[in-house]
């Protein structure tokens, strides 16, 4: 037993070391941030400023471009290429919805039902990233080729009749139609939907499902009232990670589409690299950026994610 003759140990043994914090110590976080800030400055801020100035220049390749604050470029670009803008939003939106429909059950399966197969399925989801984006899209060109097994099967099942009637395909072809572009986008961005969905589903305590069942909720109600609301952060980040890059994509429209399926990304690419009309290309980029920013802000506000856990 302890005797009481000993003095009690000091309550805060660290107290004597507590000196007023030194200045250098307080600056450490900022020093640690410096590489990141420099990176952003050089590779994000500077190009943005440069592009912004390009978008208000006039001139020609031969005579050189000068900043003339020619904002009319924006209006001209928008009025000429608005169909491509609308198409981008439509295709990216369709692909996002398809990704959600395909990705949610998959993420749910991995999170709650996969058991020991979980890691294997996760690897399968990520595996396509081991090959180049371009190669994978080219592979789709073969898959959807005219007279190929996929087109044959769709034809036999009269699916193509329906999609033709909807204007998504033409006749017996799938390649070079909007459907092919949307399929390509869906395929390429599916992992960006599945991963955040999986992360937020996996965080849900399985006992909450049991609790809902215990409180008279049928499995469907449990999903509607508990699982889905709790997975909202994943739904929001998944749709954003899919929609934003899909809206700016040009590879899928280029390889799987036709001149009738050109998206805004294709226009920007052509303006920059072929026509060499830099101001129009820069203006289009800024319009796309602004449009996505507005849509995303409205979306996040409406889904009320800041309210969730």
């Amino acid at each position: 037993m302890a005797t009481l003759t000993e003095a009690p140990p000091p309550l805060t043994p660290t107290a004597p070391e507590k000196k007023p914090p030194r200045k250098r110590g307080r600056l450490v976080p900022y020093w640690l941030l410096l590489p990141g800030i420099l990176w952003l400055l050089v590779f994000f801020a500077l190009p943005m400023i440069y592009q912004a100035s390009t978008s208000v220049q006039t001139g020609s390749l031969e005579a050189g471009y000068k900043v003339t604050w020619h904002f009319a470029t924006y209006w001209d670009a928008l009025s000429e290429y608005y169909p491509q803008f609308l198409r981008s939003v439509l295709y990216a939106g369709s692909a996002t919805i398809l990704c959600l429909i395909l990705g949610y059950p998959l993420a749910y399966l991995i999170a709650f039902r996969a058991g020991r197969w979980r890691n294997l399925i996760m690897i399968l989801v990520i595996a396509p990233f081991f090959t180049s984006f371009l190669i994978r899209t080219l592979a789709w060109k073969t898959i959807l080729a005219d007279g190929g097994p996929v087109v044959g099967a769709l034809n036999t099942l009269h699916v193509l009749d329906v999609t033709s009637w909807l204007g998504m395909t033409q006749g017996d072809r799938v390649l070079a139609t909007p459907l092919a572009v949307v399929c390509g986008l869906t395929y390429n961005f599916l992992p960006f939907m599945v991963l955040p969905l999986y992360t937020s589903l996996e965080r849900i305590d399985p006992r909450l499902h049991e609790a809902a069942g215990d409180l008279y909720a049928k499995p469907v109600t449990t999903f509607r009232k508990v699982t889905f609301p709790l997975s909202m952060p994943g739904v929001v980040s998944g749709t954003l990670l899919t929609f934003i890059p899909a809206a700016g994509d040009y590879v899928n429209a280029d390889l799987l589409g036709s001149t009738d399926t050109r998206m805004v990304g294709n226009v920007i690419q052509t303006q920059f690299l072929r026509i060499l009309d830099y101001p129009t290309a820069a203006a289009l980029s800024f319009i796309l950026m602004a449009a996505i920013l507005v849509m995303v802000t409205v979306y996040i506000r409406r889904s009320g994610t800041e309210d969730l856990v």
Binding site: M1, D205, R207, L208, E210, A211, A212, G213, D214, L215, Y216, A217, K218, T221, K225, V226, P229, L230, L308, V309
Partner: protein, 387 residues
């Protein structure tokens, strides 16, 4: 609907017949088990972690499918019913409150699922019962552990289940709050009169709250009875050690004397009422003689002559003593039992009783119980510290 509820109504009985659970990996969590919990009682399933008590509870709730046997609630066989069709509710360990819903909606969840439209009055009354009326619009993570625990109870009770299942509901609370909630739960149970089945590893909690306790060990019920009965008449060393502390002396049956058995232990004799012996008592048979530490008196060896006749007595030397306020706990080294524990009330402390002193331990034979010597003397020890 009849207006008068019959007092002998047994719709809240829980009847488990031959129920067992074996997992796919071959582990048997619960061996075939028969158990009846009468309507309106406060029933505790007590045992160390992994003894099958939670599995048993989950089979009543429908969250675990039994490998064999049936579950009846009153007259209804609910074995095949999914949880959402069973008239039982559960208070989960760590509560499982819905984090995206506020307290009001958490409590209203069960009512809404059953299609009840006007829930406001009921929810408010229930929140008042658990003293959380002010917190209705807060989210669960904004509440303290004790408050969350009360929300979990309210969320279950508002559905007026026939049976309320509590899975270690107080495990996450600190000691003081736990004691307070034990009394609170007991009060609520008395008030609403619903059958409570409470799973716990805390023997004190089970004894304080329950009318009937079933002590479980390795997937079986070791013994079932009222807390006092389990404490005074344990039938296995596991129960004797798990509920409080017991001292055991290995003894041999010598003769019978009326209702008592006389046993030989070391050089002396001990007397044990036959009614309190669960072991076979043929002459020459081995019996574990048990006695609780607080039943024993301690007398200095010099005063041995003052001890009244007819008491069981053994000798020993005090090995250690510790003063803990209400009592002094002695460990006595005796030839018949190496670490004999004695708790003495601090009424007339004998200053001579310090470690190293030769003493005589004596107690009323009526406080002696006998167990089968063929079991592990130490079964059920240490569990208190675990979890």
């Amino acid at each position: 609907m009849t207006t008068v509820t019959n007092k002998t109504d047994n719709t809240g009985d829980v009847r488990l017949s031959g129920i067992s659970k074996t997992y796919d990996n071959g582990f048997t969590a619960v061996h075939p088990l028969d158990l009846t919990v009468p309507q309106g009682s406060f029933f505790a399933l007590l045992g160390a972690s992994g003894c099958g008590k939670t599995t048993t509870l989950r089979m009543i709730a429908g969250l675990e499918e039994p490998s064999s046997g049936t579950v009846h609630l009153g007259e209804q066989n609910v074995t095949a019913l999914p949880p959402y069709k069973r008239p039982v509710n559960t208070v989960f360990q760590s509560y499982a409150l819905f984090p995206h819903l506020d307290i009001f909606e958490n409590v209203a969840f069960g009512l809404r699922r059953r299609g009840i439209k006007s829930v406001k009055k009921q929810v408010e009354d229930m929140l008042d019962l658990v003293q959380l009326g002010e917190q209705a619009r807060k989210k669960p993570h904004q509440l303290s552990g004790g408050q969350q625990q009360r929300v979990a109870v309210a969320r279950a009770l508002i559905n007026h289940p026939k049976v309320l299942l509590l899975d270690e509901p107080l495990g996450a609370l600190d000691l003081k709050l736990r004691r307070q909630m034990q009394l609170e739960l007991k009060r609520i149970q008395t008030e609403v009169g619903i059958t409570f089945v409470h799973v716990t590893h805390d023997q004190e909690e089970a004894m304080t709250m329950a009318d009937t306790v079933a002590v479980m060990n390795a997937g079986r019920v070791e013994q079932l009875g009222s807390p006092a009965d389990l404490y005074e008449n344990p039938r296995t060393t596991f129960v004797a050690n798990f509920l409080g502390t017991s001292n055991f002396i290995e003894a041999e049956v010598d003769t019978k004397n009326g209702d008592d058995i006389v046993l030989k232990a070391g050089g002396g004799k001990l007397v044990l009422p036959e009614a309190r012996c669960s072991a076979p008592t043929a002459t020459g048979g081995k019996v574990l003689v048990g006695v609780r530490p607080e039943k024993i008196s301690l007398t200095h060896a010099d005063d041995a002559g003052d001890i009244p006749e007819g008491r069981n007595r053994i000798t020993g030397r005090i090995a250690d003593s510790s003063f803990i306020g209400v009592s002094t706990q002695y460990v006595v080294d005796s030839p018949v039992c190496p670490e004999f524990e004695v708790y003495a009330q601090n009424i007339d402390r004998d200053a001579r009783l310090v470690p190293g002193t030769e003493v005589v331990l004596h107690w009323n034979p009526a406080h002696t119980f006998g167990l089968d010597a063929a079991q592990d003397i130490d079964a059920g020890i240490q569990e208190e510290a675990a979890v």
